[in-house]
Symmetry: C2
Subunit: 492 residues, 2 copies
């Protein structure tokens, strides 16, 4: 028996010395995806054992805002109550755009059709949503309200192709951090239904038979190796790889600019690596969520971003994560938010932002930034002229956020590399069907293996298209699909 | 025995009914990488069998210009003869930049140190190089000359960090298409040394043992399945995946804009898929080489590219493939090359380029393109002012290519999506050590498996950093490393 088990290499079943535990569905990770796998697999009558490396349930979702991106079907209960008729086709079209060039139409179609019902399901599991609507532009609601605008719905080019609706549904929790409550409820539900959770239990590698089918996994618990047979399937819900700096450097090096990793610490890519070990193909490993939260206060959205050439490059009213990706890719990592006295306030999340230049005229600001003469001033003059007319012909910033920058003093807030604190997590992962079945490089199913959450490449797969709530929506919904698929694979 | 062999799924060795052929080193693909694998593995005394799906040797390299990117060590024989002292450290620094954010320092270091010797080696294999130098800016030499400037060496930001030298070394062949001669010589050499080539032989899948080690491969030849045992190793040199439209859509969808695939037809990703089937990790699957060859004539380099916002976005004197990537990513796929009467000539490779606007003033051109009033004219006015002073403060176009655009009539050549013909091939592939050993997701070696050429993620791994000759240089050099590694793996 080898002691060198590692996620990148599967263990052949004929080298398994004994089965320490036999179950139907073995789940790796007890976070947003894993808990929903467990709930549905138990509902389908399967024996379910969940292996969680941490000493407590919840995973990285516990640290989130507890916001779920749902809509369609004419609106969730909450959307309808507040007058937002959200058609399935608008949600579908929005999610296709949000998924970027490699959006998965099958996955998007299923989600769009069933997301409103999924919201009701979450409530039925005991997750509390107050049912109220909070207008305005927020990153997360600072209140216990439910419905917020949490993505790019009202911003070009999304707004031009899909009728906007607010779709962020946040757990009833005062302030930020509702993810903890969400996960308490989902994990408690899974346990109440009879799933068995094993904590401090690290999945070391998959076990495969001669035909490449997954038969179980090796787990380390209290220094001992456990050989776990999964009669119906193994479901990988072990998160992404933002906490594995080697993997980030290899696959998504640009994410290294963001110093804050959005993770509870165990997004080490082991789920993805276990999938790769049995021939799974990966998708979009270079993609990541990033944010440089430059608002609230929302008045700052009325400012304009420029790069070192004095050029604008984005409509500033898009989702903050989309703005972040555009900021991060500007030449030499240099960008500034230009504001005037009327809209200036310190950004809530980074109040010590560097004010790179202040002046009574834009000329002074340009000089202080040491930009080429005329570069910034020409851009501001043109923007002001167009904003006065309520137009933004290049970037299509919504008229509601358009106003000329006329009230001195003027300032440039630095979003240059080194001056900013970014937050990131990875979006690439295993290729799966909407059922959670993991695919090999020829697009064929790998028998006995499923994945959901950030271990899979899901709905959120393009940094520029992210919306708050998309990862929790995807993880919980497709976790459910994977749980049902795995349980049914073992049905007679 | 199953007839459903496919690259995405390995065949277990205990399902092999018989060994039809036993060799030391089995090579998949008889192109630039495969031929050099064969030469070195034979040199190390191994029995070598090469399986080529086409009916003739050469692979996609046969369709190339036959240009190899080499230098360093104070210069190749040809560089020195023409006065270019090319230090290893400059080549190293250049290749690190060319590799982009995920450049492989080990691979780059080895290549930089040995590239000049590799050029001598190519000559020693019988590949003819005339030894002459052709000044100017060319995509490939139209003559039989050897040394040309074939990358970004003289362009910012490359020129600021590495001392420039011409490094494109082209086979002695009149006109374009020297790749055929290069491949004739290398494949003939491999055969003369005793390698056996099997044509019309498609590798179906790898064969692995219980520990995941690669033991051979299944090949289809004349409708029959051959089970090939490789005592020392299998080397995958089966090219990239540009000819596999499903894979391109899944991994590098932006490459679909380029209608011309740079391939002899068999870059179907099967080599990469075979690697994935045994647990290999992939790198940079989203990256691709692209070109929209807007010159020669080189006078067009003196024009300026703008997008639909009237903004410049690149120094036009960078390598044409780098310009192409910037053009392709402009908003709504719209970009134009602005020229005046003095520099205008029809692009050699696309003489029927759409002339989107002509005018006696830049105002007329702006109106004809229906751009916002002042957007194009302000950019041209600023460019002209700076060019007159010999400066390009934003984009750092080299002074030699800078001149104001003053001679009417003025024109805008369309490089908008739909109006242009692009050429592309993929750069993503299997993760390998410089030795060619293929790596799993934990960075460990997969026993018995090697890869080189575009099946591996090599020196060229970033579309924006490509230089002509980089793929042939990488494929031939690292093919040699893989051939030696595989042969020595079987040594007692």
């Amino acid at each position: 028996m080898s002691n060198n088990f590692s996620p990148g290499r599967a263990c052949p079943v004929d080298q398994v010395p004994r089965w320490d535990l036999v179950t139907d569905v073995a789940v790796v990770g007890f976070g947003a995806a894993g808990s929903c796998v467990a709930i549905e697999a138990r509902g389908a009558g399967a024996q379910v054992d969940v292996f969680e490396v941490a000493s407590a349930p919840g995973g990285s979702a516990s640290l989130s805002g507890g916001e779920v991106y749902v809509g369609g079907s004419g609106g969730t209960e909450v959307q309808r109550e507040h007058g937002f008729a959200d058609e399935t086709d608008d949600l579908r079209q929005y999610l296709l755009m949000a998924g970027g060039p490699t959006a998965d139409a099958d996955r998007v179609g299923l989600y769009a059709a069933q997301a409103a019902a999924h919201f009701s399901w979450l409530r039925a599991q005991g997750v509390p949503f107050k049912g109220t609507y909070l207008p305005g532009k927020w990153i997360e609601p600072p209140t216990d309200d439910t419905l917020i605008w949490s993505g790019n719905e009202q911003a070009w080019p999304f707004s031009a192709k899909a009728k906007p609706a607010p779709r962020g549904h946040t757990v009833e929790f005062e302030g930020w951090g509702g993810g903890q409550l969400l996960m308490e409820k989902l994990c408690a539900r899974a346990l109440a239904l009879g799933a068995t959770a094993h904590y401090n239990s690290r999945a070391l590698c998959l076990i495969t038979d001669d035909n490449g089918a997954v038969k179980g996994l090796v787990v380390r618990r209290e220094g001992q190796e456990l050989f776990v047979q999964a009669r119906s399937g193994v479901v990988l819900c072990a998160g992404g790889f933002i906490a594995n700096r080697d993997m980030v450097a290899r696959h998504a090096p640009e994410a290294l600019v963001c110093e804050h990793q959005v993770t509870a610490g165990n997004d080490d890519g082991s789920g993805i690596r276990m999938g790769i070990s049995v021939g799974a193909t990966t998708l979009n490993m270079q993609e990541f969520f990033a944010t440089l939260p430059f608002f609230p206060p929302e008045s700052l959205i009325k400012g304009i971003f420029i790069n070192e050439r004095g050029q604008r490059f984005i409509n500033e009213d898009t989702y903050h994560g989309r703005v972040a990706h555009y900021v991060l890719r500007q030449p030499n990592g240099r960008a500034w938010l230009l504001v005037d006295n009327d809209i200036f306030d310190r950004p809530l999340l980074q109040p010590d932002i560097t004010v790179a230049a202040v002046g009574d005229t834009w000329d002074e600001v340009e000089q202080e930034l040491a930009l080429e003469p005329g570069s910034l001033t020409a851009t501001v003059a043109e923007f002001n002229r167009q904003a006065r007319a309520g137009q933004d012909p290049y970037f299509h910033k919504h008229a509601g956020w358009l106003r000329p920058l006329l009230s001195p003093p003027f300032a440039a807030l630095s979003y240059c590399r080194g001056d900013i604190e970014g937050h990131a997590f990875t979006l690439g992962g295993l290729a799966t069907r909407p059922t959670g079945e993991v695919l090999n490089a020829d697009g064929q199913i790998i028998s006995g293996l499923y994945a959901a959450g950030r271990t899979a490449c899901g709905l959120p797969r393009w940094g520029e298209g992210y919306s708050s709530g998309l990862s929790l929506g995807d993880s919980t919904f497709f976790g459910r699909q994977a749980g049902r698929s795995a349980a049914n694979a073992g049905a007679p």
